[in-house]
Symmetry: C2
Subunit: 227 residues, 2 copies
DNA sequence: GGCTATACTGACATTCCTGTCAATATAACT
DNA sequence: AGTTATATTGACAGGAATGTCAGTATAGCC
């Protein structure tokens, strides 16, 4: 006795349940919206806030729709990882390629820092690392490549700069360490920066000064070691 | 890793129902063991691995025992936060007070870095920050105090050093920024350090060199600005 | 030894979340 | 228009996790 059509039968105008016109998107569009919502939730509430029903509500769909586009919750997570990895790689490479004209090596660091300290991305990546899910990208473990490419680009930049100005060849490990420091500090800032600044009584402008200060410090270091 | 300490069957092997002799601990001891297990799980598996039943199994008790000692799962989390905060504060203050004899300001930074980059603590704190649960400590918002105390201690140290050597008074904000950089970098390293080093083809020894390099860099900076 | 306080347990209730399925509606195409 | 492919949905199944409770056993004390 289950097949009693409750209220969805003929078009009775029940004020209670207007069948709520469906919006049918392309698969690509739907996937994008879902990933956006998931990323936003992740950034706002952390990993425990990543529930299919919540995401679905954010997008304005029902949760099985998510299961339809991504095979499972895990599939959604993997897609999220993948997209974040790719976006991060693209941004970093763009930052590296963007200021070809400038011969100031620090611009690279500065841009890398900006990209990495993006709150959403860093928090997402951090969560992945904390949960041990890193480098699950389907296409490639972009981590390796990105790190290598960045250091390589920085090193070449420094060498060119040194040659042009008749300085001695910069130490490769020094370049690597500089990049690592920038990456570490950027990640750290994305995670604890806000709390730290607040605890220190620093406002938004103070945080900006901190970045400038840091950039100058790296610059001084690079100048010193390249002398 | 399949070998979990699962065997709690007392030496007797009764086929039917060995009532499994109970171990009755003091409340304090039980709480400590539970918190230890929870912290270990959190460090190993991230926030999603924090399940009462798992923790109970680790300790060798039943999960209602945890509910008995901490009111709820949330109570356990709060206790965990509290203990981590206090431990961090103690360690930091100890690191600051420990080398009173040394007049090298960098030793402070070095110790702070060591303490902060402790994998377990940093990951725990990071998770708390990521989930937006920071500063829920019952006794006090230790975050404020610790940050303020550290900067204050560093500043006094620098001023004393400057006065003794006839240097100009160091800038307070510079001291703050130095502390922030150390904290950011330490946190970042605790989270992404391993992956980053791996991506860069750096072994354990390389990581050590990185820390030395970073300490030297900060030292140089402090010397320069204090001149 | 007996008594008491309470750390501890097994079984159950409840809630929440992922995943399945049959059915439906809509965009695209002929 | 009709037809098709598939994005989407409501309802339900299954499982897992937290929380409740009445009862049990053990350490400390007389």
């Amino acid at each position: 006795m289950s097949s009693v059509d409750k209220d969805r039968a003929t078009t009775d105008e029940k004020p209670g349940k207007p069948p709520a016109k469906r919006i049918r998107r392309t698969a690509e569009e739907a996937r994008r919206l879902i990933l956006d919502a998931a990323e936003a939730r992740l950034a706002r509430q952390g990993p425990e806030g990543l529930r299919l029903q919540d995401i679905a509500r954010d997008v304005g769909i029902s949760h099985p729709a998510i299961l339809h586009h991504f095979e499972s919750r895990d599939g959604l997570v993997r897609a999220l990882i993948n997209r974040a990895n790719n976006q991060l790689r693209d941004k970093l490479l763009a930052a590296l390629a963007g200021d070809e004209k400038s011969d100031d090596a620090m611009d690279h660091i500065g841009h890398v820092f900006e990209v990495l300290s993006d709150r959403g991305t860093a928090r997402l990546l951090s969560w992945l690392l904390l949960t041990g899910r890193a480098a699950e990208g389907t296409s490639e473990q972009s981590g390796h490549n990105v790190m290598g490419e960045i250091v390589e680009a920085m090193q070449q930049r420094r060498e060119a700069y040194a040659k042009e100005h008749g300085l001695r060849k910069p130490d490769r490990e020094d370049t690597l360490f500089t990049a690592m420091l920038a990456a570490n500090a950027a990640f750290g800032e994305a995670i604890v920066g806000r709390q730290l600044a607040e605890a220190a009584g620093l406002n938004q402008d103070g945080l900006k000064r901190f970045r400038v200060w840091f950039a100058k410090m790296l610059n001084d270091h690079l100048d010193d070691t390249a002398e």
